[in-house]
């Protein structure tokens, strides 16, 4: 058995005495050991509801969640605490608590009634703090930590709980890009080094595509799971972004913002400068096309380190510059353009 969590025909939602509000239904999925799985889905599809259901905070509307072969509805809090550790979006408000104290509370399922720590407990706590790379902040107050350090301390707490499964609800929200990558790296290595299953919900599509072993795509009536690459091949992401503002870039295998364009401009050249120029042009609604012999107006990308961009009009140089911004300005503001989506660029000189 390689799966640590198994969802079978699971319907999730909120049960009350009068009515049942289903958020998503008919979910099947397996969570693998030693792998990091990212749960993706647009806002409102029930990522948090699914995580709460797996953690046992919510009862499944129907269907089952099994953790290491046991149905979660038959596990009490104490047993669950030895299977699953969690990191939630709620900020932990512990006035006067140090990092060490927070991580210490992660040992609660193993300590006695007074919470006395054995030598082994202390070792686990110290190891967890070190693995999360915050050993230097061990005796710092939680309130003095940055968001990233605080998140690492919370992950260390979950690690100290010594469970085969760690579930995180948007652990990278509120963090800047380097901190996000760092947290994802940390979780990845935790999964592969310790053989734990890590399940995290996130909105970072790019990072999830690059770093997770497996993806769960949550939709209204199904959950599609697989390696990121397989899901790309299956075109499984399309329903997530059906408003067309995001498109998949076949070259990089990542997503990018899609712009509408109604004009084109010929560009001669390639390389890194071309990529940047293209991005700047697309943002303004202009699409670069490959320049051909007959074009009279076009942008040339040269190898010259001082003047990387040259704007040509009928064999005359309009602008020589090294700045993308100036090229764009020339194209849009300085030179009146008559461009259309169907024809190649035509420049009307006064």
């Amino acid at each position: 058995m390689t799966e640590s969590i198994k969802l079978e025909k699971l319907d999730i939602g909120y049960l009350s005495s009068k009515s049942t509000k289903k958020v998503a239904c008919n979910l099947f999925a397996n969570l693998n050991r030693g792998e990091m799985t990212c749960l993706l889905g647009p806002n409102g599809t029930g990522k948090s509801t699914l995580i709460k259901t797996i953690c046992g905070f919510l009862k499944p509307v129907s269907g089952t969640v099994s953790i290491n072969g046991q149905n979660t509805t038959q596990l009490d809090e104490k047993e669950m605490a030895k299977h699953v550790a969690i990191v939630l979006t709620d900020k932990i408000m512990l006035p006067n608590a140090t990092v060490y104290e927070l991580v210490m509370y992660g040992r609660s399922p193993y300590t006695n009634f007074l919470g006395r720590l054995s030598a082994e407990d202390k070792e686990v706590i110290n190891r967890s703090i070190e693995m999360c790379g915050i050993a230097h902040k061990k005796s710092a107050l939680l309130s003095t930590l940055s968001d990233g350090e605080r998140q690492k301390a919370t992950i260390a707490k979950a690690l100290a709980q010594d469970t085969p499964i760690i579930i995180l609800d948007e652990p990278t929200a509120f963090l800047d890009l380097p901190a996000r990558v760092e947290i994802m790296h940390l979780l990845r290595s935790l999964a592969s080094d310790t053989g734990k299953s890590v399940l995290m919900s996130t909105h970072d599509l790019d990072l999830a595509l690059q770093m997770s072993d497996e993806l769960w795509l949550l939709q209204k009536d199904c959950l599609i799971s697989g390696t990121p690459e397989d899901l790309v091949l299956q075109n499984a992401f399309q329903p997530m972004f059906n408003n067309g503002s995001i498109e998949f870039d076949n070259k990089t295998g990542l997503f990018k913002v899609a712009y509408d364009y109604n004009v084109t401009i010929p560009v001669k050249g390639h390389g890194f400068r071309y990529t940047l120029l293209r991005r700047a042009l697309m943002r303004k609604g202009i699409k670069p096309v490959k320049a051909i012999e007959t074009d009279c107006v076009y942008i040339e990308i040269t190898d010259n380190t001082n003047n990387g961009f040259v704007v040509w009009n009928k064999d005359q140089i309009m602008l020589k510059t090294n700045s993308v911004g100036e090229v764009i300005k020339q194209i849009i503001d300085v030179t009146p353009l008559l461009l259309s989506a169907d024809n190649r660029a035509t420049l009307v000189m006064n």
Partner: protein, 353 residues
């Protein structure tokens, strides 16, 4: 790295020993100082069992000052720990022993006996002496336990902790409105008795009753130490607590029960004592610099005893003919503590929670 936890341990034990010595000193000062000047030597003589020539002094010490100090000690410990439990349970720095409406319940009970009995039976409660005192005690106890029972029922029925807090505050308002109506229809001397009861006092008990009171407050307070691990988990928030294996409903029920018993006992014997239960936990958190309730509960209890003894001492400072009402002293000390805590938080840019 183990040096850090060692030094934390050391500073904790220094704190505990230091505050305990403070309690001892304050306890002695409570015996020595009063409106009548008794030399320290005589105090030692009376308590060492030696015969003293001065019967008056020995009477004052054994019948007034000792029970009063014992009651202050017990009330301080009980109220402070009860307040800490509430602040942790509701994760609210303004919570105190009275948030659950338990002391209002006691007032309601006392109101029924003191205010209504006069109207019904045609005699004033205040004329009954000892029997009247006992009736007030029973009334306060049944009033507060009744409210505690209602709160526990609500806590069992509802899921959220916040709704328990709101219910408690609302029950408090309800009972004070009922008391207000009763006051309106009752005899003037009964209202006076009620007001005096409401001012709170550590000096209503004989020595045996004070000893009983001490037992009734210290035992639940010590039991509270056993809740330390649960409280640590509860303070992280319900979801985290549950994920670490805590049965939230049971922990919440027992926390409310113990805090309620402590508040009910103190209020029944001493009347509603304000501010100690709210201010002392803040002092304890400031001194002990930890979130671990094993340390916090002990520090809070000891500091609570010290604060109550200090208040009692100030209330009877030599120079005053008679003792000040204890509540005016506790508020005078408690309010600045709470204000300074809030201001310090602002200065350190800490969140208000």
């Amino acid at each position: 790295m183990s040096n850090i936890s060692e030094s934390i341990k050391n500073s904790t034990s220094i704190n505990l020993v230091g505050t305990s010595i403070l309690v001892l000193i304050l306890f002695l000062l409570n015996l020595v100082f009063g409106s009548i000047n008794i030399p320290f030597k005589a105090v030692v003589e009376v308590f060492s069992g030696a015969d003293t020539d001065n019967i008056v002094w020995s009477n004052i010490l054994l019948r007034t000052r000792l029970p009063q100090a014992l009651v202050a000690l017990g009330a301080g410990v009980g109220l402070s720990i009860s307040g800490l439990l509430m602040q942790t349970l509701f994760r609210n720095p303004l919570a105190g022993p009275s948030v659950l409406g338990i002391s209002s319940g006691a007032s309601l009970g006392v109101g029924f006996v003191v205010l209504l009995a006069g109207g019904f039976f045609g005699f004033s409660m205040s004329s009954l002496g000892i029997i009247g005192d006992f009736a007030i005690l029973i009334a306060a106890f049944s009033g507060s336990l009744g409210i505690l029972f209602v709160i526990l029922l609500i806590a069992k029925k509802t899921k959220g902790t916040l709704s328990v807090l709101i219910m408690g505050v609302m029950i408090g308002y309800l009972s004070s409105s009922v008391v207000g109506m009763m006051k309106f229809y009752s005899l003037e001397e009964d209202v006076h008795t009620y007001v005096i009861w409401g001012l709170g006092s550590f000096s209503r008990m004989s020595l045996p009753r004070a000893q009983l009171f001490l037992l009734l407050t210290i035992v639940p307070s010590v039991i509270c130490i056993l809740l330390a691990k649960w409280l640590n988990l509860l303070s992280m928030g319900d979801n985290y607590a549950r994920s670490l294996g805590l049965k939230i409903e049971r922990a919440r029920f027992i926390t409310i029960l113990l805090s309620g018993i402590l508040t009910a006992t103190v209020t029944a014997f001493c009347g509603p004592i304000v501010f100690i239960g709210m201010a002392v936990p803040h002092m304890a958190k400031m001194i002990s610099k930890t979130s671990n309730h094993l340390i916090l509960i002990s520090t809070t209890g000891i500091l609570g005893a010290a604060t109550a003894l200090l208040c009692n001492l100030i209330a009877r400072l030599p120079g005053f003919d008679s003792a000040l009402p204890i509540n005016s002293v506790t508020a005078f000390i408690g309010a600045p503590v709470v204000i300074s805590v809030i201001l310090k938080r602002r200065r350190d840019n800490l969140p208000d929670n």
